[in-house]
Subunit: 219 residues, 2 copies
Protein backbone atom coordinates (compact mmCIF):
# COMPACT_ATOMS: atom_id res chain seq x y z
CA UNK A 1 0.00 0.00 0.00
CA UNK A 2 1.47 3.33 -1.10
CA UNK A 3 0.90 6.50 0.90
CA UNK A 4 2.07 9.86 -0.38
CA UNK A 5 1.71 13.15 1.41
CA UNK A 6 2.13 16.01 -1.06
CA UNK A 7 4.11 18.95 0.34
CA UNK A 8 2.56 22.13 -0.95
CA UNK A 9 2.99 24.42 2.03
CA UNK A 10 4.58 27.34 0.15
CA UNK A 11 1.96 27.34 -2.56
CA UNK A 12 -0.77 27.29 0.04
CA UNK A 13 0.59 30.17 2.04
CA UNK A 14 0.96 32.36 -1.09
CA UNK A 15 -2.60 31.39 -2.00
CA UNK A 16 -3.79 32.12 1.53
CA UNK A 17 -2.32 35.62 1.40
CA UNK A 18 -4.24 36.33 -1.78
CA UNK A 19 -7.37 34.77 -0.29
CA UNK A 20 -7.12 37.19 2.64
CA UNK A 21 -6.96 40.07 0.16
CA UNK A 22 -10.03 38.78 -1.67
CA UNK A 23 -11.87 38.54 1.64
CA UNK A 24 -10.95 42.14 2.29
CA UNK A 25 -12.39 43.20 -1.07
CA UNK A 26 -15.62 41.31 -0.34
CA UNK A 27 -15.87 42.83 3.14
CA UNK A 28 -15.30 46.38 1.95
CA UNK A 29 -18.06 45.99 -0.63
CA UNK A 30 -20.44 44.48 1.91
CA UNK A 31 -20.55 41.25 -0.07
CA UNK A 32 -21.00 37.79 1.45
CA UNK A 33 -19.23 35.18 -0.67
CA UNK A 34 -19.54 31.40 -0.86
CA UNK A 35 -17.39 28.82 -2.63
CA UNK A 36 -19.41 25.89 -3.98
CA UNK A 37 -17.50 22.67 -4.63
CA UNK A 38 -18.65 19.28 -5.93
CA UNK A 39 -17.95 16.38 -8.26
CA UNK A 40 -18.55 16.97 -11.96
CA UNK A 41 -22.29 16.80 -12.53
CA UNK A 42 -23.43 16.94 -8.89
CA UNK A 43 -25.64 19.88 -9.86
CA UNK A 44 -23.68 22.98 -8.83
CA UNK A 45 -25.10 25.16 -11.59
CA UNK A 46 -28.65 23.86 -11.09
CA UNK A 47 -28.50 24.54 -7.34
CA UNK A 48 -27.09 28.02 -7.98
CA UNK A 49 -29.80 28.88 -10.53
CA UNK A 50 -32.52 27.61 -8.18
CA UNK A 51 -30.95 29.59 -5.31
CA UNK A 52 -31.02 32.76 -7.39
CA UNK A 53 -34.63 32.14 -8.39
CA UNK A 54 -35.62 31.69 -4.74
CA UNK A 55 -33.71 34.75 -3.49
CA UNK A 56 -34.64 37.06 -6.35
CA UNK A 57 -35.89 40.41 -5.12
CA UNK A 58 -34.45 39.79 -1.66
CA UNK A 59 -30.73 39.79 -2.49
CA UNK A 60 -28.56 41.06 -5.33
CA UNK A 61 -26.46 38.15 -6.53
CA UNK A 62 -23.40 37.69 -8.70
CA UNK A 63 -21.66 34.54 -9.90
CA UNK A 64 -18.09 33.51 -10.66
CA UNK A 65 -18.01 30.33 -12.76
CA UNK A 66 -14.94 28.08 -12.81
CA UNK A 67 -14.40 25.48 -15.53
CA UNK A 68 -11.51 23.98 -17.44
CA UNK A 69 -13.17 25.11 -20.64
CA UNK A 70 -16.38 26.65 -22.07
CA UNK A 71 -18.65 29.39 -20.75
CA UNK A 72 -21.77 27.20 -20.65
CA UNK A 73 -22.50 27.95 -16.99
CA UNK A 74 -21.87 31.68 -17.24
CA UNK A 75 -24.26 31.89 -20.17
CA UNK A 76 -26.91 30.19 -18.02
CA UNK A 77 -26.31 32.66 -15.17
CA UNK A 78 -26.40 35.67 -17.51
CA UNK A 79 -29.60 34.32 -19.08
CA UNK A 80 -31.06 34.20 -15.55
CA UNK A 81 -30.31 37.91 -15.24
CA UNK A 82 -27.27 37.80 -12.97
CA UNK A 83 -23.89 39.48 -13.25
CA UNK A 84 -21.56 36.58 -14.00
CA UNK A 85 -17.94 36.07 -14.97
CA UNK A 86 -16.20 32.95 -16.25
CA UNK A 87 -12.77 31.63 -15.27
CA UNK A 88 -11.38 29.04 -17.66
CA UNK A 89 -8.52 27.30 -15.86
CA UNK A 90 -7.07 25.64 -18.97
CA UNK A 91 -5.99 22.38 -17.42
CA UNK A 92 -6.06 23.32 -13.74
CA UNK A 93 -8.21 21.13 -11.52
CA UNK A 94 -9.36 23.88 -9.12
CA UNK A 95 -9.80 27.61 -8.73
CA UNK A 96 -7.30 29.52 -6.64
CA UNK A 97 -7.29 32.90 -4.92
CA UNK A 98 -5.26 34.57 -7.69
CA UNK A 99 -7.83 33.63 -10.33
CA UNK A 100 -10.58 35.05 -8.12
CA UNK A 101 -8.68 38.29 -7.56
CA UNK A 102 -8.29 38.70 -11.32
CA UNK A 103 -12.02 38.54 -12.03
CA UNK A 104 -13.35 40.51 -9.04
CA UNK A 105 -13.05 43.84 -10.91
CA UNK A 106 -15.44 42.44 -13.56
CA UNK A 107 -18.30 42.20 -11.04
CA UNK A 108 -20.31 45.21 -9.79
CA UNK A 109 -19.47 44.30 -6.18
CA UNK A 110 -20.82 47.52 -4.64
CA UNK A 111 -24.28 46.62 -5.99
CA UNK A 112 -24.20 43.00 -4.78
CA UNK A 113 -25.11 41.27 -1.50
CA UNK A 114 -23.95 37.75 -2.33
CA UNK A 115 -21.33 36.31 -4.68
CA UNK A 116 -21.47 32.59 -5.41
CA UNK A 117 -18.27 31.03 -6.73
CA UNK A 118 -18.76 27.76 -8.62
CA UNK A 119 -15.50 25.84 -8.44
CA UNK A 120 -14.20 23.31 -10.97
CA UNK A 121 -16.00 19.97 -10.68
CA UNK A 122 -13.59 17.94 -8.55
CA UNK A 123 -13.74 16.29 -5.10
CA UNK A 124 -10.01 16.54 -4.45
CA UNK A 125 -8.04 19.61 -5.53
CA UNK A 126 -10.41 22.51 -4.69
CA UNK A 127 -10.36 21.52 -1.00
CA UNK A 128 -6.72 22.63 -0.77
CA UNK A 129 -7.19 26.20 -2.01
CA UNK A 130 -9.04 28.83 -0.02
CA UNK A 131 -10.50 31.56 -2.24
CA UNK A 132 -11.29 34.24 0.35
CA UNK A 133 -15.01 33.44 0.50
CA UNK A 134 -16.81 33.41 3.85
CA UNK A 135 -17.87 29.78 3.64
CA UNK A 136 -17.08 26.65 1.67
CA UNK A 137 -20.10 24.61 0.63
CA UNK A 138 -20.02 21.07 -0.74
CA UNK A 139 -22.75 19.64 -2.94
CA UNK A 140 -22.96 15.86 -2.77
CA UNK A 141 -25.44 14.10 -5.02
CA UNK A 142 -27.41 10.90 -4.54
CA UNK A 143 -26.26 9.01 -7.69
CA UNK A 144 -22.60 9.50 -6.65
CA UNK A 145 -23.17 6.95 -3.92
CA UNK A 146 -23.08 6.88 -0.14
CA UNK A 147 -19.36 6.11 0.27
CA UNK A 148 -18.01 9.46 -0.90
CA UNK A 149 -17.29 10.98 2.55
CA UNK A 150 -15.08 7.97 3.31
CA UNK A 151 -13.24 8.18 -0.03
CA UNK A 152 -12.81 11.97 -0.24
CA UNK A 153 -12.29 12.94 3.40
CA UNK A 154 -10.35 16.16 2.69
CA UNK A 155 -13.29 17.70 0.88
CA UNK A 156 -15.86 16.66 3.47
CA UNK A 157 -13.69 17.92 6.35
CA UNK A 158 -13.22 21.41 4.98
CA UNK A 159 -16.74 22.71 4.42
CA UNK A 160 -19.15 24.72 6.56
CA UNK A 161 -22.31 23.48 4.83
CA UNK A 162 -23.30 20.37 2.91
CA UNK A 163 -26.05 20.18 0.29
CA UNK A 164 -27.24 16.69 -0.67
CA UNK A 165 -28.67 17.17 -4.16
CA UNK A 166 -30.83 14.96 -6.42
CA UNK A 167 -32.87 13.45 -3.59
CA UNK A 168 -35.57 12.89 -6.26
CA UNK A 169 -33.37 10.01 -7.50
CA UNK A 170 -33.39 8.17 -4.13
CA UNK A 171 -36.02 5.64 -5.36
CA UNK A 172 -33.86 4.68 -8.36
CA UNK A 173 -30.34 4.25 -6.98
CA UNK A 174 -28.83 2.41 -4.02
CA UNK A 175 -27.97 5.02 -1.36
CA UNK A 176 -27.87 4.37 2.37
CA UNK A 177 -28.45 7.80 3.93
CA UNK A 178 -27.46 6.59 7.43
CA UNK A 179 -24.10 5.28 6.16
CA UNK A 180 -23.50 8.52 4.26
CA UNK A 181 -24.37 10.73 7.25
CA UNK A 182 -22.22 8.59 9.56
CA UNK A 183 -19.21 9.28 7.32
CA UNK A 184 -19.98 13.00 7.27
CA UNK A 185 -20.37 13.09 11.05
CA UNK A 186 -16.97 11.47 11.62
CA UNK A 187 -15.21 14.01 9.41
CA UNK A 188 -17.21 17.13 10.08
CA UNK A 189 -19.29 16.79 13.24
CA UNK A 190 -22.45 18.86 13.27
CA UNK A 191 -21.98 20.37 9.82
CA UNK A 192 -25.24 21.93 8.63
CA UNK A 193 -26.81 19.73 5.96
CA UNK A 194 -29.53 20.39 3.35
CA UNK A 195 -31.09 17.51 1.40
CA UNK A 196 -32.50 19.09 -1.77
CA UNK A 197 -33.62 18.49 -5.31
CA UNK A 198 -32.66 21.40 -7.53
CA UNK A 199 -34.89 19.77 -10.15
CA UNK A 200 -38.12 19.64 -8.12
CA UNK A 201 -37.28 22.46 -5.70
CA UNK A 202 -37.71 20.20 -2.66
CA UNK A 203 -35.59 21.34 0.29
CA UNK A 204 -34.39 24.52 -1.43
CA UNK A 205 -36.28 26.74 1.03
CA UNK A 206 -34.29 25.50 4.05
CA UNK A 207 -31.02 26.06 2.17
CA UNK A 208 -31.89 29.57 0.98
CA UNK A 209 -33.26 30.51 4.42
CA UNK A 210 -29.94 29.52 5.96
CA UNK A 211 -28.00 31.39 3.28
CA UNK A 212 -30.14 34.49 3.72
CA UNK A 213 -29.55 34.35 7.48
CA UNK A 214 -25.78 34.19 6.94
CA UNK A 215 -25.86 37.22 4.64
CA UNK A 216 -28.13 39.22 6.96
CA UNK A 217 -26.03 38.36 10.02
CA UNK A 218 -23.16 40.33 8.45
CA UNK A 219 -25.17 43.50 7.70
Amino acid sequence: MTKRIPIVENILSANDQMAARNRDVFEKSGVYAINIMASPGAGKTSVILKTLETLKGRLQLGVIEGDLATSIDTEKALAAGMPAVQINTGGDCHLDAVMISQVLPSLPLSELDLVIVENVGNLVCPANFQLGTHVNVLIASIPEGDDKPYKYPGMYKGVQALIINKIDLLPYVPFNMDYFRQGVEILNPGVVTFPVSAKTGEGMQAWTDWLLAQVKARD
Copy 2:
Protein backbone atom coordinates in the same frame (compact mmCIF):
# COMPACT_ATOMS: atom_id res chain seq x y z
CA MET B 1 -11.27 35.54 -18.49
CA THR B 2 -8.22 33.82 -17.02
CA LYS B 3 -6.41 31.13 -18.93
CA ARG B 4 -3.55 29.19 -17.37
CA ILE B 5 -1.54 26.52 -19.08
CA PRO B 6 0.26 24.41 -16.48
CA ILE B 7 3.79 23.45 -17.50
CA VAL B 8 4.48 19.97 -16.23
CA GLU B 9 6.67 18.57 -19.00
CA ASN B 10 9.46 17.26 -16.76
CA ILE B 11 7.09 15.50 -14.40
CA LEU B 12 5.31 13.91 -17.32
CA SER B 13 8.44 12.62 -18.96
CA ALA B 14 9.67 11.05 -15.70
CA ASN B 15 6.22 9.51 -15.31
CA ASP B 16 6.22 8.35 -18.93
CA GLN B 17 9.52 6.55 -18.41
CA MET B 18 8.08 4.65 -15.50
CA ALA B 19 4.90 3.97 -17.48
CA ALA B 20 7.01 2.38 -20.23
CA ARG B 21 8.62 0.13 -17.61
CA ASN B 22 5.20 -0.89 -16.27
CA ARG B 23 4.07 -1.69 -19.82
CA ASP B 24 7.15 -3.87 -20.17
CA VAL B 25 6.25 -5.77 -16.99
CA PHE B 26 2.69 -6.30 -18.24
CA GLU B 27 3.92 -7.48 -21.66
CA LYS B 28 6.45 -9.92 -20.19
CA SER B 29 3.71 -11.47 -18.05
CA GLY B 30 1.28 -11.66 -20.97
CA VAL B 31 -1.10 -9.33 -19.16
CA TYR B 32 -3.40 -6.87 -20.90
CA ALA B 33 -3.98 -3.82 -18.70
CA ILE B 34 -6.60 -1.09 -18.74
CA ASN B 35 -6.84 2.18 -16.81
CA ILE B 36 -10.39 3.14 -15.89
CA MET B 37 -11.04 6.80 -15.14
CA ALA B 38 -14.24 8.66 -14.18
CA SER B 39 -15.83 11.24 -11.91
CA PRO B 40 -16.44 10.21 -8.31
CA GLY B 41 -19.49 7.99 -8.29
CA ALA B 42 -19.78 7.33 -12.03
CA GLY B 43 -19.75 3.63 -11.23
CA LYS B 44 -16.17 2.50 -11.83
CA THR B 45 -16.26 -0.22 -9.18
CA SER B 46 -19.73 -1.41 -10.24
CA VAL B 47 -18.67 -1.67 -13.89
CA ILE B 48 -15.50 -3.52 -12.89
CA LEU B 49 -17.39 -6.01 -10.70
CA LYS B 50 -19.95 -6.62 -13.47
CA THR B 51 -17.11 -7.03 -15.99
CA LEU B 52 -15.46 -9.64 -13.79
CA GLU B 53 -18.74 -11.46 -13.32
CA THR B 54 -19.28 -11.56 -17.10
CA LEU B 55 -15.72 -12.68 -17.92
CA LYS B 56 -15.38 -15.21 -15.09
CA GLY B 57 -14.07 -18.52 -16.32
CA ARG B 58 -12.85 -17.00 -19.58
CA LEU B 59 -10.15 -14.69 -18.24
CA GLN B 60 -8.06 -14.45 -15.09
CA LEU B 61 -8.46 -10.94 -13.74
CA GLY B 62 -6.72 -8.75 -11.22
CA VAL B 63 -7.51 -5.28 -9.93
CA ILE B 64 -5.52 -2.27 -8.73
CA GLU B 65 -7.74 0.15 -6.80
CA GLY B 66 -6.81 3.82 -6.42
CA ASP B 67 -8.41 6.04 -3.80
CA LEU B 68 -7.40 8.92 -1.58
CA ALA B 69 -8.41 6.83 1.42
CA THR B 70 -10.09 3.57 2.46
CA SER B 71 -9.93 0.09 0.96
CA ILE B 72 -13.69 -0.16 0.32
CA ASP B 73 -13.26 -1.02 -3.37
CA THR B 74 -10.48 -3.54 -2.85
CA GLU B 75 -12.58 -5.35 -0.26
CA LYS B 76 -15.39 -5.59 -2.85
CA ALA B 77 -12.98 -6.98 -5.46
CA LEU B 78 -11.50 -9.49 -3.02
CA ALA B 79 -15.00 -10.53 -1.98
CA ALA B 80 -15.71 -11.18 -5.67
CA GLY B 81 -12.76 -13.55 -5.68
CA MET B 82 -10.17 -11.49 -7.52
CA PRO B 83 -6.58 -10.69 -6.67
CA ALA B 84 -6.69 -7.01 -5.76
CA VAL B 85 -4.39 -4.39 -4.33
CA GLN B 86 -5.19 -0.93 -2.97
CA ILE B 87 -3.25 2.28 -3.53
CA ASN B 88 -4.15 5.06 -1.10
CA THR B 89 -2.80 8.31 -2.57
CA GLY B 90 -3.18 10.35 0.62
CA GLY B 91 -4.16 13.65 -0.92
CA ASP B 92 -3.12 13.04 -4.52
CA CYS B 93 -5.83 13.49 -7.13
CA HIS B 94 -4.65 10.76 -9.53
CA LEU B 95 -2.60 7.59 -9.79
CA ASP B 96 0.81 7.79 -11.43
CA ALA B 97 3.17 5.24 -12.96
CA VAL B 98 5.39 5.08 -9.86
CA MET B 99 2.47 4.08 -7.66
CA ILE B 100 1.55 1.35 -10.14
CA SER B 101 5.12 0.06 -10.29
CA GLN B 102 5.16 -0.19 -6.49
CA VAL B 103 2.11 -2.44 -6.31
CA LEU B 104 2.74 -4.67 -9.35
CA PRO B 105 4.80 -7.15 -7.29
CA SER B 106 1.74 -7.69 -5.08
CA LEU B 107 -0.27 -9.18 -7.96
CA PRO B 108 0.25 -12.73 -9.32
CA LEU B 109 0.84 -11.32 -12.84
CA SER B 110 2.01 -14.59 -14.38
CA GLU B 111 -1.39 -16.13 -13.55
CA LEU B 112 -3.44 -13.21 -14.92
CA ASP B 113 -4.77 -12.27 -18.38
CA LEU B 114 -6.21 -8.85 -17.58
CA VAL B 115 -5.44 -6.21 -14.97
CA ILE B 116 -7.97 -3.43 -14.43
CA VAL B 117 -6.68 -0.27 -12.76
CA GLU B 118 -9.35 1.87 -11.12
CA ASN B 119 -8.04 5.41 -10.96
CA VAL B 120 -8.99 8.07 -8.38
CA GLY B 121 -12.43 9.55 -9.09
CA ASN B 122 -11.55 12.74 -10.95
CA LEU B 123 -12.24 14.09 -14.45
CA VAL B 124 -9.13 16.27 -14.58
CA CYS B 125 -5.83 15.07 -13.10
CA PRO B 126 -5.71 11.37 -14.11
CA ALA B 127 -5.79 12.36 -17.81
CA ASN B 128 -2.28 13.79 -17.48
CA PHE B 129 -0.58 10.66 -16.15
CA GLN B 130 -0.07 7.55 -18.24
CA LEU B 131 0.23 4.41 -16.11
CA GLY B 132 1.64 1.95 -18.64
CA THR B 133 -1.67 0.25 -19.35
CA HIS B 134 -2.60 -0.69 -22.92
CA VAL B 135 -5.71 1.46 -23.03
CA ASN B 136 -7.35 4.28 -21.12
CA VAL B 137 -11.08 3.93 -20.60
CA LEU B 138 -13.43 6.67 -19.41
CA ILE B 139 -16.72 5.96 -17.67
CA ALA B 140 -19.23 8.78 -18.06
CA SER B 141 -22.56 8.48 -16.26
CA ILE B 142 -26.00 9.76 -17.18
CA PRO B 143 -26.75 11.77 -13.99
CA GLU B 144 -23.49 13.75 -14.47
CA GLY B 145 -25.15 15.52 -17.40
CA ASP B 146 -24.60 15.80 -21.13
CA ASP B 147 -22.18 18.75 -21.07
CA LYS B 148 -19.21 16.95 -19.54
CA PRO B 149 -17.23 16.39 -22.78
CA TYR B 150 -17.30 20.14 -23.37
CA LYS B 151 -16.24 20.97 -19.81
CA TYR B 152 -13.56 18.28 -19.35
CA PRO B 153 -12.02 18.04 -22.84
CA GLY B 154 -8.62 16.74 -21.71
CA MET B 155 -10.16 13.60 -20.25
CA TYR B 156 -12.43 12.90 -23.22
CA LYS B 157 -9.57 13.42 -25.69
CA GLY B 158 -7.20 10.96 -24.11
CA VAL B 159 -9.17 7.71 -23.97
CA GLN B 160 -9.47 4.73 -26.33
CA ALA B 161 -12.91 3.62 -25.13
CA LEU B 162 -15.89 5.34 -23.50
CA ILE B 163 -18.47 3.63 -21.30
CA ILE B 164 -21.70 5.56 -20.69
CA ASN B 165 -23.00 4.11 -17.41
CA LYS B 166 -26.34 4.36 -15.58
CA ILE B 167 -28.46 4.39 -18.74
CA ASP B 168 -31.24 3.00 -16.52
CA LEU B 169 -31.54 6.56 -15.13
CA LEU B 170 -32.25 8.15 -18.54
CA PRO B 171 -36.00 8.41 -17.83
CA TYR B 172 -35.38 10.35 -14.61
CA VAL B 173 -32.76 12.96 -15.50
CA PRO B 174 -32.33 15.50 -18.30
CA PHE B 175 -29.69 14.13 -20.68
CA ASN B 176 -29.50 14.87 -24.42
CA MET B 177 -27.57 11.94 -25.86
CA ASP B 178 -27.08 13.66 -29.24
CA TYR B 179 -25.52 16.71 -27.58
CA PHE B 180 -23.28 14.47 -25.47
CA ARG B 181 -22.15 12.37 -28.44
CA GLN B 182 -21.53 15.49 -30.52
CA GLY B 183 -19.09 16.74 -27.85
CA VAL B 184 -17.35 13.36 -27.72
CA GLU B 185 -17.07 13.23 -31.52
CA ILE B 186 -15.41 16.66 -31.69
CA LEU B 187 -12.78 15.68 -29.13
CA ASN B 188 -12.25 12.03 -29.90
CA PRO B 189 -13.61 11.14 -33.35
CA GLY B 190 -14.73 7.55 -33.71
CA VAL B 191 -13.90 6.50 -30.14
CA VAL B 192 -15.59 3.19 -29.36
CA THR B 193 -18.56 3.79 -27.03
CA PHE B 194 -20.57 1.45 -24.80
CA PRO B 195 -23.86 2.61 -23.23
CA VAL B 196 -24.38 0.34 -20.21
CA SER B 197 -26.10 -0.08 -16.90
CA ALA B 198 -23.85 -1.85 -14.42
CA LYS B 199 -26.97 -2.10 -12.23
CA THR B 200 -29.24 -3.94 -14.69
CA GLY B 201 -26.47 -5.46 -16.83
CA GLU B 202 -27.80 -3.83 -20.02
CA GLY B 203 -25.06 -3.25 -22.58
CA MET B 204 -22.38 -5.06 -20.55
CA GLN B 205 -22.11 -7.84 -23.13
CA ALA B 206 -20.93 -5.48 -25.91
CA TRP B 207 -18.33 -3.96 -23.58
CA THR B 208 -16.96 -7.28 -22.34
CA ASP B 209 -16.96 -8.72 -25.90
CA TRP B 210 -14.82 -5.78 -27.01
CA LEU B 211 -12.52 -6.16 -24.01
CA LEU B 212 -12.16 -9.90 -24.56
CA ALA B 213 -11.27 -9.24 -28.21
CA GLN B 214 -8.55 -6.77 -27.16
CA VAL B 215 -7.04 -9.30 -24.76
CA LYS B 216 -7.23 -12.17 -27.27
CA ALA B 217 -5.72 -10.03 -30.04
CA ARG B 218 -2.50 -9.85 -28.01
CA ASP B 219 -2.17 -13.58 -27.41
